[in-house]
């Protein structure tokens, strides 16, 4: 239906996933993972699964981001590899 918009969203999805895997700073990885969750929620909504998209947006982009930031605050910020 709106396949041009969905192609753009898929490209940004892959870019945010690769960035969150390969970046050195863990805080940047957490922010990129939140962006991944939000784009995934938009894709779910465009496919018609509104409840799944709502859950993904609330849990993936809100709560898990906060918990990851708390764990970075308790441990270290740089990765070893």
């Amino acid at each position: 239906m709106h396949w041009e918009l969905e192609i753009v969203l898929y490209i940004f999805l892959v870019i945010s996933a690769v960035v969150s895997l390969h970046v050195k700073d863990l805080l940047t990885a957490v922010v990129s993972l939140s962006v991944f969750s939000y784009i995934l929620a938009m894709l779910f909504v465009s496919m018609g699964a509104i409840d799944v998209g709502f859950t993904e947006a609330v849990v993936g982009a809100g709560i898990t981001g906060v918990l990851y930031v708390v764990m970075i605050f308790r441990t270290t910020r740089r990765t070893n590899d």
Binding site: I50, D51, T55, V58, I63, V66, V70
Partner: protein
């Protein structure tokens, strides 16, 4: 966190935004019969509004807002609401979680199932909210003496 933020922008914005997020969470729980949403999403929204206050303010204020000791017991109350609705319908002679036998007088079967769904959504929302806040609290607790 423990000492609070020193920036007035963060203090003002968290103070303004938190009640509206909480109101939207209540709307998502209680309007879940007519619009997308439900207990899990509404509980996560309520938890995010409480965690927003916990990040910005100092410890005295957010312990007044939602006390640390209430986390796990209120979660147990939420699970017990769900189990209780199931067991009431089991005691009244039906199956487990069969809402059409709940002891509310003067209602037809469809209305009884409507209010049964509403009760378990409230239970799920309460449990999810308090458990997420309790996980945040327990992760952020500092070990003040180092001899572990």
């Amino acid at each position: 966190m423990k000492h609070g933020s020193s920036s007035p922008i963060i203090l003002l914005l968290s103070r303004v935004l938190s009640p509206y997020i909480m109101l939207f969470g209540m709307y998502v729980i209680f309007h879940g019969h007519y619009s997308p949403g439900g207990g899990f999403q509404g509980g996560a929204l309520l938890a995010s509004s409480i965690i927003l206050i916990r990040i910005a303010m100092e410890e005295k204020v957010h312990q007044l807002h939602f006390n640390k000791a209430y986390g796990i017991p209120l979660g147990a109350v939420g699970v017990l609401i769900f189990f209780g609705v199931g067991f009431i319908s089991l005691i009244m002679g039906g199956y487990f979680l069969d809402y059409s036998l709940l002891p509310f007088p003067g209602m037809i079967t469809a209305e009884l199932r409507f209010y049964g769904i509403l009760l378990i959504e409230v239970g799920v929302g309460l449990a999810v909210m308090t458990i997420l806040v309790a996980i945040y609290d327990n992760l952020l607790e500092e070990d003040d003496d180092e001899s572990i």
